[in-house]
Amino acid sequence: MSSITVGSHAHDDAHAAHGHAGSFLSTYVFSKDHKVIGIQFLFSTLIWFFIGGLLALGIRWQVAWPWADMPVIGKMLFSGEGGQISPEFYTVLFTMHATVMIFFVIIPILAGAFGNFLIPLMIGAEDMAFPTLNMLSYWFMWPAFIAMTASFFVEGGAAKAGWTSYPPLSLTDLNGQTLWLIGLTFVGVSSMMGSVNYLTTIIQMRAPGMTMFRLPMTIWAMFITAILQAFALPVLTAAGFMQLMDRTLGTGFFIPDGWAANNAPLASGGGQPLLWQHLFWFYSHPAVYIMILPAMGMVSDIIACFSRKPLFGYKPMVYSIAGIAGLGFIVWGHHMFMSGMNPALGMTFMVSTMMIALPSAIKTFNWLGTVWGGNIRFTTPMLFALSFVSMFIIGGLSGIFMAATPVDIFIHDTYFIVAHFHYVLFAGTAMGVFGAIYFWFPKMFGRMMNDSWGKVHFLLTFLLLNGTFFTMHILGVVGFPRRLADPYHYQTFHHLQPLNAFMTICAIGMVGAQFIFVANFIFSIFMGPRAGRNPWHCNGLEWQAPSPPGHGNFDVQPVVYRGPYEYGSPEVTTDYYPQTQPPAEGGDKPPTPPAH
């Protein structure tokens, strides 16, 4: 073994302490270091995750026991209504729940936290190509944080037209919707700055020998996600400006002729409500892949590492990410099958949607192929990663029902959809993110998280999330509509209350289980056992840097000789073969010269 990889633990401590020249403010607050920015994103998003979870409990409470007083939280949140959720507040709840979860948790935790932290480390760079821009991309989140928080306190309350904000309903809201749009614009600008920076970094700042096809899946996923962001997001920004103008100036982009409703702006009309849906989904469908591809990448890395086996079908995996991203741009209409859009268009969108299951199938089978014949270590990150695969299959398969237009006639806007996206988003991405936190925590903080408590956290979350979300499929089969504050006065859905109560209890338990995670996380930052450079015996470049890496990341120039997944290679005696380890005599090929 080369001395590069031995990574003597002795000077890790020195590293942890070193190198933070400058004031506290420039080191921890306005830092330009990608690792600090990543961790800032991580903390911010975890706090928003908690808020989003509380809002979810509000939803669950109301759906299980409509109009019942909510203990404790009710008093905190809506004391004005005496601990009871009003129908209006219910609409706020799910709108803000989704907004928070999607725009303040999942997207920023994937791209902002892990993208930032991992990209330079995994490609062998000392930082992002544009550190100042990177810092700005975090600080642009703050106006958004403030706008969204403030919106709860303005007259009329926070946005309540659903996270999709369909006009004309969204035009009749009071100030909350305006703040929502402003917040979203800032999130958008932040993401844009991040994505162009990531792309430049990945294209230009790879270590010698790190060809594109030696990149870890995480980086590939981040790369393609950044492309998706760059091309889809501006359209949402444009649409957001237009909705803002419709609301405040009185233009009429999304307002039909001769339209009037309560609180409606004095508008000129002549516009089209469906136009917003097209623009919104043109972004938001690719966005669902923005919300899962990075998780897929990280999960691929974790699974390969703990199966001690090369990733099965590396290139097909890369191509399928690209395939998902490419197809993702031509399927947005599947959210609009019932919207009044030309049904012939629906037919074409149906076919393209079906096709997008193909690259997903390739990914699924390759994960299975990776686990097959491995030497599996059941660590906490591995369990989360495997559950990602297991849950993504469920979420993906339910997508097929909705892609089938005739079936969608029945299940559109029912809990079947709610089940679908919580399986891909919570059971999929969020579980993948938990796995990634456990996996890269040693690199971030130089200490290990407790594995046993991690497993308890996993087990409870895994069981309870299925209890919460699997049953939603069944509700959907009955036709139980989403976004309904009190569904039980419909005779068709009257008998579903006990099932909903069960789901709510599971959800409460699930949120409770997260406190184990929080405690483990905080405790481990300060008291966890020290991690060496490479506690999991992985191949990636990030594991060659000290834990945590100092300013500039690497103390030796990383040179890459092979792909990141050479686990169990017969060429070496260890069961891993780091990317930077020079090949044994006559073994591997020398690194390819820099390509131009």
């Binding site: 019932m338 030497n375 005739p406 006639i409 008998h495």
Partner: protein
């Protein structure tokens, strides 16, 4: 521990299948189907349910089995050092592709049947919209109720008003019946309704008839189906339309032609008797 975790993962397919197997027994399942095109949709649903069910069980059990079999604990045999297999990649691209294409093509007719064909052109004519076919009624959704407007046939109007009525149908503009939330339809007849919205988006959802269509302000969207069973069912608003979205509830009553006519006549008489009601209902 590997064994334990594999079993935890095995719970997913076991409980998942159990959930779908037991739900129908507790009547937590597709609501009763009362429309002619409904069985096609239900059939497609079952078809996809079986298909995805099989994929689900195979993949989840495979995952379980690999976890069980390749647990590192107590094993020291070398891993299968492979970077993949071209043949396998091709197989698991082609097979799902074929399956998915099949589903896509298989369902096209059902979609065309319920959203694209011209109702007057018979079940096979997939042409145009129903624009020029007279609708049975006009449904206008508004926050938070369903306004229904039935054109009243000449004979029924006469019957309702009596022979010696002063009313002159050519002069008086009120020739239609206006009701709120009470949707009555004749059984076994092709029903075409024009769906409109007076304010924001709504969605006209009849779970039992497998009908759903958004109502969009500024658009008139035709909806058609044929109810095959009498009874009383829910009419649900399935698109968020404001704080009162949850209570935007209508009632669908499917009845024989005679009963329907009788109802029409009765309601029309009531409406003419109280001109006030009529004008408030009309002057929305």
């Amino acid at each position: 521990m590997g064994r334990f975790w594999s079993l935890v993962f095995l719970l997913v397919p076991v409980l998942g299948v159990a959930c779908f197997a037991f739900a129908p027994m507790y009547k937590i399942w597709l609501p009763k189907d009362i429309s002619q095109h409904g069985p096609v949709i239900d059939h497609l649903f079952y078809f996809i349910l079986w298909l995805t069910g099989v994929v689900f069980v195979i993949t989840e059990v495979a995952l379980f089995w690999f976890m069980w079999r390749y647990d590192s604990h107590g094993r020291s045999n070398p891993v299968k050092f492979t970077h993949g297999s071209h043949t396998l990649e091709i197989v698991w691209t082609i097979v799902p592709a074929a399956v998915l294409l099949f589903i896509a093509i298989y369902q096209m007719n059902a979609w065309a049947e319920s959203k694209m064909r011209n109702p007057a052109a018979g079940p096979d004519g997939i042409l145009g919209t129903a624009d020029d076919i007279p609708a049975l009624l006009e449904v206008t959704a508004r926050q938070f109720e369903w306004r229904l407007r039935y054109p009243v046939p000449e004979e029924i109007r006469k019957q309702a008003l009596g022979k010696d009525s002063q009313w002159d149908s050519t002069k008086d503009p009120i020739k239609d019946l206006f009701v709120v939330n009470e949707l009555h339809l004749p059984v076994n007849e092709e029903i075409i309704l024009d769906l409109k919205s007076a304010d924001v988006l709504h969605s006209f959802f009849l779970p039992n008839a497998r009908v759903k269509q958004d109502a969009v302000p500024g658009m008139k969207i035709p909806v058609w189906f044929r109810a095959t069973d009498t009874g009383s069912y829910d009419l649900v608003c399935a698109e968020l339309c404001g704080w009162g979205h949850y209570k935007m509830k209508g009632r669908l009553t499917v009845e024989s032609r005679e009963d329907f006519n009788k109802w029409l006549e009765e309601r029309f008489r009531e409406q003419m008797a109280t001109q006030d009601t009529a004008s408030t209902a009309k002057g929305e």
